[in-house]
Amino acid sequence: MIRVPRFLLRLLLVAAVLAIWEAAVHLFAVPAFILPPPSNIGIALWRGFASTLYIDHLRITVAETLLGFVFGSILALVLGTLIALSRRVEYFLYPFIVMFQSMPKVALAPLIIVWFGLGLTSKVAQAAVTAFFPLMVNTIVGLRSADEDRVALMRSLDASELQILTMLRVPSAMPFIMAGFEIAMVLSLIGAIVAEFVGAQKGLGVLIMSMTFTMDVAGQFSVLLILSLLGLLLNAVIVEIRKRVLFWDASQKMTEQAPVDAKL
């Protein structure tokens, strides 16, 4: 028997699905506005990029997503730190947090458009609001996760609370915060697209809406493909940063007997 590499099998499977899809659409004469064949989607993609139409919209959506991510993250880190450090802040913010937590953030989109207009600001605001919550929760949990023995060690060295925060609690929180960044990036893209649906002049969400009106379903599929690739790329960036920041996290268990063995 010939051993085929697994990734080749995977590629073959994708190709087979596309081929069956293509054949089925032609065989059963499915109307293009219900389900376009993959070839049409490919053509739409090529045309979109050839005319710079997609690039123009893509650029806007990426800008909204990244700005939303940045502002949402800053808000989440600041609020999360305040809450983690002060039970009093937590106590008084708690009702707001609970109310905000249970509300689907995308439902705020129409209101945010009214407040911030049809331009970039409203999209950034929506992306930030959508992204911020899980990161804030992770920041709180992370900052409170510092090992008690390590805190005792810092105290025995006569460390100030600020030193315990910067030298111990923040590094201890990094695994949680990086996981929060990953979620925040995904949510930021969702927030930007939803806000574009509700009201915008440019962006991939706008493009999808306009294609709905012209029944350009192949076009819509091509934009969805771009969005999924964009999501993949943004996630890859965070994962890469995470790997570099958390180089030490791979073997968390400090007390275990480990690789390098000296004489004793």
Partner: protein
């Protein structure tokens, strides 16, 4: 007991603990962890405290490290009462408590960073101490790359780097296997002979206490009290073989007998 001249002697001692008690409030009432603890440690002395699990010996160490206040009485270091964490104390805990994001060298320099003593001045000292404990060449490694025994040596260097007046150790080798533990006892003796740092070593192993210490304080089960103060007259450096001698056995037997009299020996 034997400290009739307590007040006078205390002024000459590095550590003086006077009628120290610790009571915890729990839901089922007050629990007395330590009761009327009285002892002193002279400069350069190696003292071990041996006692069964739960006799409050770790609580005693926490009080001396300034991590927990005493309920009554006081502990003094160099004449001043210990009321909070102090920079002239070095502590080694039961687990190494290293920071995984810091290298071995950087972990050893943690007190230097916290107390802003200046890395340039103490970098060489840290390298020397790491070499002394046999970790030369491991300075740039991370803790998770080290064995448990090696990690505990890093913790020891960290406890010594800011040149504290006293080294407090809370069952530092309790988590290690028996073989590594014996080796670490030898290493600790070697380091101590080299630096002559005043040391207080807490353990529940009678043999370990006798092997390492100049004096062994024997604690009763809860509430913890000092019931004996045994001076170990064994020449240094002590080899592991000393454990097979009748004199060593005599010390162990004397301490064990004290425990058996109180019915508090747990192993």
């Amino acid at each position: 007991m034997r400290r009739a001249e307590g007040a006078l002697a205390a002024s000459a001692d590095l550590i003086a603990v006077n009628r120290l008690s610790k009571t915890y409030r729990t839901r089922s009432g007050a629990v007395t962890a330590l009761e009327n603890i009285d002892f002193a440690i002279a400069e350069g002395e190696f003292v071990a405290i041996v006692g069964p699990s739960g006799c409050g010996k770790s609580t005693l160490l926490k009080i001396l490290a300034g991590l927990t206040p005493a309920s009554q009485g006081a502990a003094r270091l160099s004449g001043t009462p210990i009321v909070g964490p102090r920079r002239d104390i070095g502590v080694v805990f039961q687990s190494p408590v290293l920071f995984p994001w810091r290298t071995v060298l950087s972990n050893a320099l943690l007190p230097v960073d916290v107390q802003r003593l200046g890395r340039p001045q103490l970098n060489a000292a840290a390298m020397d101490l790491l070499a002394l404990v046999g970790l030369k060449g491991f300075e740039r490694r991370y803790p998770w790359e080290l064995s448990g025994g090696m990690q505990q040596r890093v913790a020891m260097v960290r406890a010594l780097i800011h040149n504290p007046a006293i080294l407090l150790m809370d069952e530092p080798f309790g988590a290690l296997d028996a073989m590594t533990r014996e080796q670490m006892n030898l290493e600790l003796q070697r380091i101590w002979l080299e630096r002559r740092k005043t040391a207080l070593f807490i353990t529940h192993s009678i043999a370990e206490a006798v092997f390492l210490a100049d004096r062994v304080l024997v604690m009763t089960p809860r509430p913890g009290r000092i019931m004996d103060d045994v001076r170990v007259e064994l020449a240094r450096p002590r080899a592991l073989e000393v454990m097979n001698t009748p004199v060593f056995g005599g010390y162990v037997q004397r301490i064990r007998a004290r425990f058996q009299a109180t019915g508090g020996l747990d192993s």
